[in-house]
């Protein structure tokens, strides 16, 4: 007999029971508790998100105390800007299509086939998603760029073409598709397909008529996420795009840092904000639509050993694509970091410790310390804000429009793009009463803003799955409310907290778009230092960038591994949090 999983997973919420009728007074008390929990995150978002965004609007559309909407058409009428808009859109569409094409077979293989090394493959596939964009950029540069592996072997260079960008986007978002689609796929009852087969459907027809419609919403959600991520791509395009290709994000940065045209940057940010809000709205709509009444099974029960030539070929193809697209770039990156002019050695790494390069005021290796400090602080902030917000969202009682809006607000920084956040901080937090320009906390605040959505998405499914009957059982056995929280809630939530912390930490470590605006020149973070090294000509700078990327990758991987160790291995009664990529 198969056990049906009725806990809410991050892919599909099943069978939400209607909340019991509650007396008006208690309802009011509950609302008050919810508002109390919402207060801190709300203030945080008002100060560090809404206020900077308002400042951007003001900077872009107001001049001398008057609204200047004409500027909007002026900027959008520019041929160069229209070019950027067009490129941003079509490369995002192409990246999404390519990612789906390559990752959907991977989702199938990881969901439905059982083979030795499967959990290793699943872990490997997830690694790129938590790697900093800058690392991906340098890795693909090392593979496809000037003096890269393909250049050495066959004289092929792709870094001046759009293919480098597209492939790097696939590298990143492979995990999004595998986790979102594969997660659901592994829980679909295979007997649904068998039922169709018994009614006369061929294998293909059964897949088309039964499995595909069930997967459809998850595929749509994954595609939207990939589209969103690639539409707002910054680090990858900065490194691989060269002067020829720029997304909106890159253009905003260019207008701010190189051209010093802040009004144009502000207008572009508004365009971006509108586009992202639209994408998120569509996403929210598909999420609501996919809350159908699918019966879900435990994933372990649905996988089978591969059978027949077709399944073996598929498995081999997926392994090959993972090897070529996900592992090879990272391997080449590591190899390049040791491949100095004087043969293999630690030359580039040694150069990182000297301060006499003309790129920085400090030895580049100092960036490691900066990055760790900032990321730690950012993780702390993101955990507090994110957990409070998630707790507010899961309070019992009716979820009104206010709460749903709050939910959407929390997701906004994720899509609104790091560049918006950085740019907003730059122009808004520079005068009293909020003059944080000189404070080191500015960088962690920006990073926390980007990390909060990850924390919320990891905590929400777990908090939602906490069974109130467990609490009632503890209370009946004599536990006070505080004891109930400590003895029942905390043990179940601890795992999710650690996972959330890990994601927030990794995201903060790799954060590039916002940090590049606000990090002080004498305190660069790792990604900022890598980008700056790549911006300079010369073999030594290139090699140092590779070496620093490897260090960044190692720090990221190590912190995640450490976390995996710390994580208690107690059973997943709360229905493991999976990746936060599911519902973002």
């Amino acid at each position: 007999m198969t056990s049906t999983d009725v806990t809410s997973t991050d892919v599909t919420r099943t069978g939400a029971t209607a909340p019991p009728r509650v007396p008006r007074r208690r309802q009011r008390r509950r609302s008050a508790a919810r508002l109390g929990l919402m207060a801190v995150p709300a203030v945080f978002f008002a100060l560090f998100f809404a206020y900077p965004v308002a400042a951007i609007v003001g900077r872009g559309l107001r001049d001398g105390g008057h609204w200047q909407f004409g500027r909007l058409t002026e900027v959008l009428g520019d041929a160069g800007i229209r070019q950027v808009l067009w490129f941003t859109t079509w490369q995002a569409l192409a990246s999404t299509a390519l990612t789906l094409l390559i990752a959907l077979p991977g989702a199938y293989v990881l969901a439905r086939l059982d083979f030795p090394g499967k959990s290793l493959l699943r872990a490997l596939v997830t690694v790129p998603f938590v790697l900093p964009t800058v690392v991906a950029g340098t890795a693909f540069l090392a593979l496809l760029g000037r003096g890269g592996l393909l250049d050495d072997l066959w004289g092929v260079r792709l870094d001046t073409t759009v293919w480098a960008i597209l492939l790097a986007h696939v590298f990143f978002n492979y995990a999004v598709v595998v986790r979102t689609v594969g997660g659901l796929w592994s829980q679909l009852d295979p007997r649904q397909e068998e039922a169709a087969r018994m009614l006369g459907a061929s294998r293909a027809a059964a897949w088309r008529t039964v499995t595909l419609p069930a997967l459809g919403p998850a595929v749509a959600a994954a595609a939207l996420m990939v589209f969103l991520f690639t539409f707002t791509s910054f680090g990858v395009v900065t490194i691989l795009g060269g002067p020829a290709y720029a997304t909106l994000e890159v253009e905003i940065y260019r207008q701010t840092a190189d051209v010093f045209d802040l009004p144009t940057a502000a207008v572009l940010t508004l365009v971006q904000l509108t586009a992202v809000a639209l994408i998120l709205a569509v996403h929210a709509w598909t999420v609501r639509r996919r809350e159908s009444t699918l019966r879900l099974l435990a994933p372990e029960s649905t996988a089978r050993a591969p059978r027949g030539a077709g399944q073996w070929a598929l498995l081999a193809g997926v392994l090959l694509s993972v090897l070529l697209l996900l592992l090879l770039p990272l391997a080449v990156l590591v190899q390049r970091s040791f491949d100095t002019a004087a043969g293999y050695g630690l030359g580039y790494y040694r150069a990182l410790t000297s301060a006499d390069s003309n790129v920085f005021l400090v030895p580049p290796i100092d960036a490691v310390g900066n990055s760790l400090t900032y990321a730690l602080a950012a993780t702390g902030i993101a955990l507090v804000i994110g957990t409070l917000a998630a707790a507010a969202l899961t309070r019992p009682g009716r979820a009104g429009r206010l709460v749903r809006g709050f939910d959407a607000l929390l997701m906004l920084p994720l899509g609104v793009s790091a560049v918006t956040v950085g740019f907003g901080f730059l122009i808004s937090l520079d005068e009293p009463p909020l003059d944080l320009r000189a404070s080191w906390i500015l960088v962690p605040l920006a990073q926390a803003l980007v990390g909060v959505p990850f924390v919320v998405r990891t905590m929400l499914p777990v908090l939602r799955a906490l069974d109130t009957r467990l609490r009632e059982a503890a209370a009946v056995l004599g536990a006070s409310p505080l004891r109930v929280w400590r003895e029942v809630d905390l043990p179940l939530v601890r795992r999710a907290l650690l996972v959330a912390a890990g994601f927030a930490f990794a995201v903060s470590l790799g954060e590039f778009g916002a940090t590049v605006f606000i990090a002080r020149p004498d305190n660069p973070t790792l990604p900022v230092a890598v980008a700056r090294l790549l911006g300079r000509a010369g073999e030594l700078n290139y090699g140092q960038a590779m070496a620093l990327s490897v260090i960044l990758m190692a720090v990221c991987t190590l912190s995640l591994l450490l976390l995996e160790r710390l994580r208690p291995r107690t059973g997943g009664a709360a229905g493991g949090p999976a990746a936060p990529t599911g519902e973002m």
């Binding site: 068998e194 087969r197 018994m198 009614l199 061929s202 009444t293």
Partner: protein
């Protein structure tokens, strides 16, 4: 219609189906009965073509089905938990098989209406399947399986998840429906009542093998061994030594029918064969508990230094727990005493 010829399926080293041979004639209703893990679901899946055989053959209408994919076998399968398609409404579910067989729109519509009528759910076509009650889901699943006119209909625990009273009603309905339609049925269940009501012939399975085959009456009257007897719900079983028409057991001497097997054996005494007497001659027992079964009471008895016994008494004369009673066994000609092969020491 259906023949299994030494069908064998292994999961790892464990045989799920161990050289099973079975025939099902056209219009016959056969029910496979067994505890979970006995291989009965694997049997259905092998016939359906959802599970490949490691050895042996499945023949449908005399044709070997090796290499014939599931959708070309022309058999229907009603799944344990129905597996209705949640994205389709009731009508869409029932029409699915017709569509797969290329039926036209009009034909689909009329057949759906006909089947909904048959299962007593007329006008339910536009309802979403998520809203159906357990019994309604079962009816829709049945209609869906019948729609393409399968030459063999297989049912996997057809009533497994429903509550008892509903199950008792539906199993009768199914029986009547299949007789009326002349459907060839192969069902599996772990519920003996369901099996005995539904089937012309019952097959008891144990660990991938057939333990017994026969009409419900045959199996009920003469279980093949202690396993089958226990599975049918008989608990008054004890090791015995049979000499002539008498068996020596822990409960004392018991008269057995003429022609019973001799020597080491197992003796089954049906609860109706355990009689409470006032005569004083017999086995002294203490009443430990009672269970109420409709018009009768099952009385659980603990004899001194012997295994427990279960007796059936009329409602009005049932003793209370704690009472001391004396037990006599029915005479062999009543058919309440059956001698079975001795159980293995294991």
């Amino acid at each position: 219609m259906l023949q299994l010829d030494r069908a064998t399926v292994h999961f790892g080293h464990r045989p799920a189906l161990d050289e099973v041979s079975l025939d099902v004639a056209t219009h016959e209703s056969v029910c496979v009965l067994g505890p979970s893990g006995s291989g009965k679901s694997t049997l259905l899946r092998a016939v359906a073509g959802l599970q490949e055989l490691d050895a042996g053959r499945v023949l449908l209408g005399g044709k070997d089905q090796r290499g014939v994919p599931a959708h070309r076998r022309g058999v229907g399968l009603m799944f344990q938990d129905h597996q209705l398609f949640p994205q389709r409404d009731v009508g869409g579910n029932i029409a699915f098989g017709l569509r797969m067989h290329g039926a036209g729109r009009d034909r689909q519509r009329s057949r759906v209406a006909e089947l909904l009528d048959l299962v007593g759910l007329a006008d339910a076509a536009p309802r979403p399947v998520g809203e159906l009650s357990g019994g309604e889901q079962q009816r829709v699943a049945l209609a869906r399986a019948l729609a393409p006119n399968p030459r063999l209909l297989m049912l996997d625990e057809p009533l497994g998840q429903l509550d008892r009273s509903l199950r008792e009603r539906l199993v009768l309905e199914l029986r009547e429906l299949f007789q009326e339609l002349g459907t060839t049925v192969l069902a599996v269940t772990h519920d003996q009542q369901e099996a005995f009501t539904l089937a012309d012939r019952v097959v008891v399975m144990r660990e991938g093998r057939l333990a017994q085959t026969g009409t419900p009456m045959e199996v009920w009257q003469h279980p093949a061994d202690a396993f089958v007897a226990r599975f049918l719900g008989f608990h008054n079983l004890t090791a015995a030594t049979v000499r002539g028409e008498a068996a020596e057991t822990a409960w004392g001497g018991i008269g057995v029918p003429a022609g019973s097997r001799q020597g080491a054996a197992t003796v089954l005494v049906r609860p109706t064969g355990v009689r409470l007497t006032d005569s004083g001659a017999g086995l002294d027992c203490r009443v430990t508990a009672r269970t109420f079964l409709g018009g009768q009471v099952a009385v659980h008895l603990q004899p001194e230094g012997a295994p427990r016994l279960e007796a059936l008494c009329p409602l009005h004369s049932a003793p209370a727990p704690g009472d001391k009673v004396t037990v006599a066994f029915a005479p062999p000609q009543d058919g309440e005493i059956v001698v079975l092969p001795a159980e293995d020491a294991a």
